[in-house]
């Protein structure tokens, strides 16, 4: 091959760089679901919606709540699951049940490397 001396080492270096994330993480622990402190099941059986829905959609839900609260003045959310209204409030609703932020929200956010800026303003329970 023409210039094989340069091309083949070049290709090897490229392949090494390209797969860097894979072999760099070899041997480190895989992601495990963090251990969360859930509210007392005697008092609260469910979250506002199903657990799967909350896991996947709570950020979208909070985003919608704050818009609808501040801009449209709606202060209550109807939960089909609980058949009851909840205040559309971060501190008065979520944190009322999930009162230990460190052992719930933070633990999960740390594991997933999310850092919501809400607490710059909203007052932690």
């Amino acid at each position: 091959m023409y210039d094989a001396k340069k091309i083949i080492p070049g290709l090897i270096i490229f392949a090494l760089f390209f797969t860097f994330p894979f072999w760099f993480n070899l041997g480190t622990a895989a992601y495990t679901t963090p251990e969360l402190e859930l509210p007392d099941p005697e008092e609260h059986e469910h979250c506002i919606e199903s657990t799967e829905y909350m896991r996947a959609e709570h950020m979208a839900m909070l985003d919608e709540w704050r818009d609808i609260y501040v801009r449209d003045g709606y202060q209550e959310y109807w939960s089909e699951l609980n058949q009851e209204y909840f205040l559309t409030s971060l501190t008065k609703t979520c944190m009322d049940c999930h009162s230990d932020k460190e052992k719930f929200c933070d633990r999960c956010h740390e594991a997933t490397a999310v850092d919501p800026y809400c607490w710059d303003c909203h007052i932690e329970p």
Binding site: R66, D67, I68, V70, R71, D72, G73, Y74, Q75, E76, Y77, W78, Y85, T88, T91, Y117, D120, C121, H122, I123
Partner: protein, 253 residues
């Protein structure tokens, strides 16, 4: 060919129908929310301040009630944050002051706050729609959207807006924060919001409650409201009427 044209028109009709139904289906989602049943309602909220009954004590009580509830810091410099504060007659009504005013009138201390204008310049200049006017006339800020550009501060002729040059929690007692209202963060503008969140819960603004009988709050479009009653009986002024912002805080002279 004949039947395919028929088909095409049918399909087009169906598509048009779908288009008109879909958006209304999407908005049906908001049925999941409701306003608090006892919320106060109005077409145009307004405030009247009886300047003859304004004493230092009453003014301090109103300021204290507001700034406590909303976690407004007290910063001892030009970077202070204020929602409702004391200002003397001259800077408030400088378009109505002349050389031969009644003795001492220029130095008369008065209470002032956001005027919740009917044509608010701050709303027009805001590039993110963080400041907006509600249907009941309250000029509200959505702190979540504020990018701190300060156009609104340049637009407001009344100096009703304050900027957070640093984290306001540095100037607040963090053990005594009011749990009912968030603080703000560095780089956000803030101002009085006629206690929209309380109004939506069926309560009157905190300053009006604290200064009972001196501050009046009510619906301007309702001839029987408290505000309309005092405006009928007394001569009143608004600040910088010439500018055409139509302020809705009236001073009963």
């Amino acid at each position: 060919m004949k039947s395919s044209r028929r088909k095409f028109i049918k399909l087009a009709g169906l598509t048009a129908l779908g288009w008109s139904v879909c958006p209304s289906l999407a908005s049906a989602r908001s049925n999941r929310y409701r306003k608090i049943p006892g919320a106060l309602k109005a077409d145009r909220w307004a405030m009247a301040i009886d300047i003859q009954k304004l004493s230092d004590e009453v003014m301090q009580k109103a300021i204290e009630a507001c700034h406590r509830l909303h976690n407004v810091p007290d910063i001892d410099s030009r970077q202070n944050v204020k929602w409702i504060w004391v200002e003397t007659f001259k800077p408030l009504f400088d378009d109505q002051v002349h050389a031969h005013q009644m003795e001492g009138k220029e130095k008369l201390p008065l209470l002032t706050l956001c005027n919740h204008c009917d044509t608010p310049p701050c709303v027009r200049v805001c590039p993110t729609k963080a400041t907006f006017k509600r249907h009941d006339g309250i000029v509200l800020m959505d702190f979540h959207r504020c990018i701190g550009c300060r156009f609104c501060m340049a637009g407001c002729p009344y100096g009703s807006r304050s900027f957070n040059y640093s984290d306001p929690r540095r100037f607040l007692n963090n053990d005594e924060l009011s749990p009912d209202y968030p603080t703000r963060s560095k780089g956000v503008v803030e101002k009085c919001e006629f206690c929209a969140h309380l109004v939506d819960q069926g309560e009157r603004p905190a300053c009006v409650e604290a200064a009972e009988g001196v501050l009046f709050f009510g619906d301007l479009s309702d001839p029987d409201s408290e505000v309309r009653r005092v405006l009928r009986d007394r001569y009143s002024l608004v600040r910088k009427a010439k500018l055409g912002t139509e302020p809705q805080v009236y001073y009963l002279i």
